[in-house]
């Protein structure tokens, strides 16, 4: 399978990327690691006229302590998120989940920002950012703005990014000492999760993100509300599927996905409660 022909531009700064996006508009796509986009291009489900390669922008590859949060550059590879000592200490859910993305080869190329900007509800990291109540930094011709992860995913493979904006940074609140869990069911390492659950905390303010339970990455809002009202972990998990609209496919019916959401949320909350420290 070979992608349709396109023009290729490699840029050496975020400003140059924004300028190229401004010039080409909807005809252009940013290329980071390419591990979401290139498969779609090989299937000709995506046929951008122009690819703007930001993969070499080292300025967007970093993990930094930023006081109350950890700032992760959008072009930080999954492998670098996985082995970050800072994230292991301050946001272990994100570091762990990055190590569950695809397989080692995928993690050597794929980036956190590329995965988030793709907006696939079957991806692992959007659910993690929802559970962690992360904030995304977008930069465009008019400057920078921040968007809560919860408001970023607007439709199937659609996000709050304007055609001339670049996702530059992911900000995850520090969560050292807070229990967490990431549960994912898939058949092979390379497969998307049939369902996944990311969980931060297990008390009244717990955050729970769901993988592959609708057309966009979702929070388990009913389960979160139940916990906020003092429900037991089991009772909260029992409503984890409420408000979701999962698809049926070769791997699972919608009913089975709802069942998995309940079971995996219970496991996640139980593990999260058990891993609480201090």
């Amino acid at each position: 399978m070979i992608p349709a022909a396109f023009d290729y531009e490699r840029v050496d700064s975020v400003e140059a990327a924004i300028a190229a996006l401004t010039e080409h508009g909807d005809d252009a796509k940013l290329l980071a690691g390419g591990h979401s986009l290139i498969p779609l291009m090989k299937l000709r489900l995506a046929t951008p006229a122009v690819l703007i390669d930001v993969g070499r922008l080292r300025e967007l590859s970093y993990v930094r302590d930023a006081g109350d949060h950890v700032a992760v550059g959008a072009l930080t590879r999954h492998r670098d998120v996985e082995v970050s000592d800072l994230l292991a200490a301050e946001a272990p859910l994100l570091a762990h989940a990055a190590g569950q993305v695809g397989d080692p080869q995928v993690r050597h190329r794929g980036t956190i920002g590329g995965s988030i900007a793709h907006g696939d509800p079957a991806s692992d990291l959007p659910a993690v950012l929802l559970a962690m109540r992360a904030t995304l930094v977008l930069r465009g011709p008019g400057g920078e703005r921040t968007v809560a992860a919860e408001r970023f995913f607007t439709g199937f493979l659609e996000t709050a990014l304007a055609p001339d904006e670049v996702l530059t940074e992911i900000r995850v609140p520090k969560a050292a000492g807070v229990g967490w869990s990431f549960q994912k069911l898939n058949r092979r390492a390379q497969d998307w999760a049939i369902v996944g659950v990311a969980c931060l905390g297990a008390g009244p303010d717990a955050g729970i993100g769901l993988v592959n339970m609708g057309s966009v990455p979702l929070r388990a809002a009913a389960a979160e509300a139940a916990l906020a009202n003092g429900a037991s972990l089991a009772d909260a998990a029992a409503v984890a599927h409420e408000g979701t609209d999962p698809a049926a496919d070769l791997n699972a019916s919608a009913e089975y996905r709802c069942h998995l959401a309940r079971v995996l949320t219970h496991r996640a909350l139980t593990e999260s409660a058990g891993s609480l420290r201090g």
Partner: protein, 155 residues
């Protein structure tokens, strides 16, 4: 566009279409056919090569993305002194049958051992999770990788 990459230590400059996948450039442009195309969907790992020492699936990388970088294919592992220790361990422990997955499997193992020189069996099984083998059932492959690690087989 013009592309210059180093493959197994030798520099190659070629004109490539931007849509050329790295695996096709290695096979059809550079002429090294040891890198196999298996599933062509970044699932099976048969096309695994090293880019600056790290394993990648070359069916899911555009050749232009690695302009200026150093690629190692299966042809680049052995030296005049003999096989690479991971290759020798695959032979010794019968880590292959039909051989189709083997180039990718060996390179995935080389990358794993560079990151984890002293892996547990679980580490090895997880480290090669991106590579599918339909013959051996993985058991002898895991034995081979562990043997290579025990022999210090990372270089």
């Amino acid at each position: 566009m013009q592309l210059t990459i180093t493959v197994n230590g030798a520099s190659h400059t070629d004109d490539v279409e931007p849509r050329t996948l790295l695996v096709h450039h290695l096979r059809d442009g550079v002429g090294l056919t040891g890198t196999n195309v298996g599933c062509d969907t970044s699932s099976c790992g048969a096309c695994t090569v090293l880019v600056d020492g790290e394993s990648v699936k070359s069916c899911t990388v555009l050749a232009v993305q690695v302009d200026g970088q150093s690629i190692t294919t299966i042809e680049g592992l052995a030296t005049e002194a003999g096989m690479h220790p991971v290759q020798a361990a695959f032979q010794e422990h019968h880590g292959l049958q039909c051989g189709y997955c083997t180039p990718g499997m060996v390179l995935a193992a080389v990358s794993l051992l560079a990151e984890q020189p002293d892996p547990t069996e679980q580490d090895v099984r997880e480290g090669i999770e991106g590579n599918l083998c339909r013959c051996t059932g993985y058991h002898n492959i895991v034995k081979a990788v562990l043997a290579a690690a025990a022999g210090g087989g990372t270089s």
